[in-house]
């Protein structure tokens, strides 16, 4: 008999949550004082942090639109966080009302908040699970209720991998997820990288995130590209997120300032 893997103590609004800090960067008010203190410290250390979050969010929007256009109707968004503006289901279901979306997050407050947002939406749901337990995600009854793994699925792990250290073997997690997917499925990844930024900002950012439950793990472009093992990268490959199919040429300028690298891979049949 296993004890539950979380307890009421886990829900500590005095402790900054990466999901709610992200909401703060995006201009939301779904956050508590502790989140704002940490997020402000981050902005002080890395003044562009809000822009990075926005760029990543915009990447997510363009990717979902692209996948909808490619015919994808099932989305599994792991590490979805606080469902603030521009959620996957908003983008996807606006374009295709029958699109099914399952959000997965480990943060119980983010999950409870998502439940409230999704109440009454028959084609979208949220489950509390950990990216590091892909089998549990794939077999979760709420996941299997909405997602038919015999059909193509877009698995999205956006702005999450930098919270998964090497010791948790994210490559194995992604392999497990890949094994469950039908040909024609997609993998969407983005994560903070240090290919261009100075060391001082990185050190500061790492210091800020050590106060959360999710310390930072910065990776290089090569490392992120390796995570697409088994997938064929969609053009333009792994790039700074503003460079991924920008709407206007100007919006891709100074793209490396966005710090986030992102890419989309397709599982060929």
């Amino acid at each position: 008999m296993q004890r539950p893997d979380w307890a009421p103590d886990d829900i500590d609004v005095e402790r900054p949550s990466v999901a709610r800090m992200y909401d703060y960067y995006l201009g939301g008010s779904h956050n508590f004082a502790a989140d704002r203190v940490a997020a402000r410290a981050m902005v002080e250390a890395v003044p562009d942090a809000p822009l990075m979050a926005q760029a990543n969010r915009a990447f997510l929007r363009r990717v979902v639109q692209h996948l909808i256009d490619a015919g994808i109707r099932q989305f599994l968004d792991i590490g979805s966080g606080i469902p603030t503006v521009g959620n996957v289901h908003e983008i996807a279901q606006r374009a295709a009302p029958e699109a099914r979306v399952v959000y997965v997050d480990v943060d119980p407050v983010a999950v409870a908040h998502s439940q409230e947002i999704l109440a009454g939406n028959r084609n979208a749901t949220v489950v509390r699970e950990d990216l590091r337990r892909p089998e549990a995600i794939l077999t979760h009854p709420e996941v299997t209720r909405l997602i038919d793994f015999s059909q193509p699925v877009a698995v999205m792990v956006v702005a999450v991998l930098h919270f998964i250290p090497h010791s948790d073997h994210p490559e194995q997690t992604l392999r497990t997820l890949r094994a469950a997917l039908a040909p024609g499925s997609y993998l969407v990844l983005s994560q903070a990288s240090d290919d261009t930024r100075g060391g001082a900002e990185r050190v500061e950012a790492e210091r800020v995130y050590r106060r959360t439950d999710n310390p930072l793990c910065i990776r290089s472009r090569a490392e992120l590209t390796e995570f697409f093992d088994g997938f064929t990268l969609v053009d333009p490959g792994v790039v700074w997120v503003p460079q991924w199919r920008p709407e206007t040429p100007e919006s891709a300028e100074d793209a490396e300032q966005a710090v986030f690298l992102g890419g989309v891979g397709r599982l060929d049949g």
Partner: protein, 586 residues
Amino acid sequence: MGEPAASGASCPGTFARAWAKAVSGTSYLPMTQAQLEELLQRLTHRLAAALRAEPFDPRVGHQVGAELVAAHIASAEGLGRTVEVIQLRLLRDLGLVGDDISDRLARLLATITTGYARALRDRTLDEQESIRRAAMVARAQAERALRDSESRFRHQATHDPLTDLPNRTLFTERLAAAINAPGRGADRVGVCFLDLDRFKVVNDSLGHQLGDALLVQMAQRLRRALGEHLVARLGGDEFVILVERTGGTDDVVKAAEAALAAVSEPALVDGHELSVTASVGIVERPVAGTTPGELMRAADSTLHWAKAAGGARWALFDPARHRTELARYALSAAIPAALDRGEFFLDYQPLTSLRDGTLLGVEALVRWRHPELGVLRPDSFIGLAEETGLIVRLGGWVLAEACREAESWGADGGPAPFVSVNLAVRQVNRPDLVQEVRGLLAQTGLPPQRLQLEITESTMMSAGAEDPVRALRALNDLGVRIAIDDFGTGYSNLAYLRDLPVTELKMAGEFVTGLRAPQVDPASRTDERILASLVSLAHALDLTVTAEGVETADQADLLRAIGCDAGQGWHFGRPAPAARILEQIR
């Protein structure tokens, strides 16, 4: 992009594009640049209309401010840049002119910022409320999950996984509560221990799966039949029922009978119709002065009484019987230490020739000089020792001690009778018996002819007694005498007497007891005839015969007349230390 081409004085497209550029990046905007420009274009039209309208309507500015926030252009920077771009470019880009146009623009900006600030405040408060609600919901969910898992955990810890009945832990808790904190009118309590009869046979012959299915069915029946009483499974086929607030024994007997009735209805398990019975041990007593452990032990031993009486019944606890059993148990537990402390000693009883009255041999009889109970005779502890297996050690000591003492007899020229020692089944079955006896003889120097081993008929008859027979033959070959003890009380199978290495038969005392009044009692005549036939049969097989339990001179005379070789009993001498017996002979 789809906006109308800029034309001369009025160019809303240009303005909207400038506005879009000003606000982008101030917060995350969940739309494409084109969608943003489209939205701002629409708002620009409304602003332009408001600037021209007569009278001036402040609501338009409020609405535009609110729409900006609703479209997620909702940050301090977004507002600042919006004010800036309107102030700097709106009139010019739209080619608006008029006497009071700058007044109107100021008023419009005031209403936009007012509407914007109101909407942003509302939105902030709403979001704060919703995240706080989410935290509360999350905490409630986590607490419920913890409670659920705790109660599941508790259930699993206190219930038997097979039958889902309460287990020993829960039962003990409830019993302890009933005893230690009795409620009003609950000053007596009862316990029934129930065990299915011959359940092992079901398991062994039909398999464990079927056995388990039977247990599940029995558990369901017991639960149904016993209603409010707690039924628990202790393990295996053992169940226990707690009867609280009893008024007396009858209440518990009623529960036991209900349980027995429930069990005994034919059970259909996997196509087999099984007829099951059970035994129940019942204890019922005041809660004051008892403990859960005591009560459970008492119920357990009472269950064994029901079993020993044949099963399919209940038995009621009897304190006197329980005390006796406890004493017996304590006695058997004390044997090893008593051996170590040398509390055992031997007495001997003469085996006397009926022909000439000489002392042929003596039978060694073990005594226990118990520090509290005084000298104990073998019938109070040998049975226990046989049950527990301690007989091997005790019997070994008796054999060694008898050999040691007997060796010295006759050394001073007096009589040197053989010594006869009883061997228990377990001793005879030991593979190293021959080696042990040979070792003792060598060690003590006792000639083998002066050792007699007494075994019972049943020992010889025990199934598969091939090895013991070989051992006895080997001993007999050494010269050791082998006697059959208590002959005539068992099967009295004569066939084996011919083939086995036996030297002597000892006739059971029952036959001799019957020889009291030969002239009047026809039964006595029968015993006499049986004895006479056995003696002549034994002689035909070349065996000597000793009669046990000879108490009178008349009996001795009769036995002598029949041709019996030797006698043992009070008539010839009571058991006594060797020295005294040898003394009397002189």
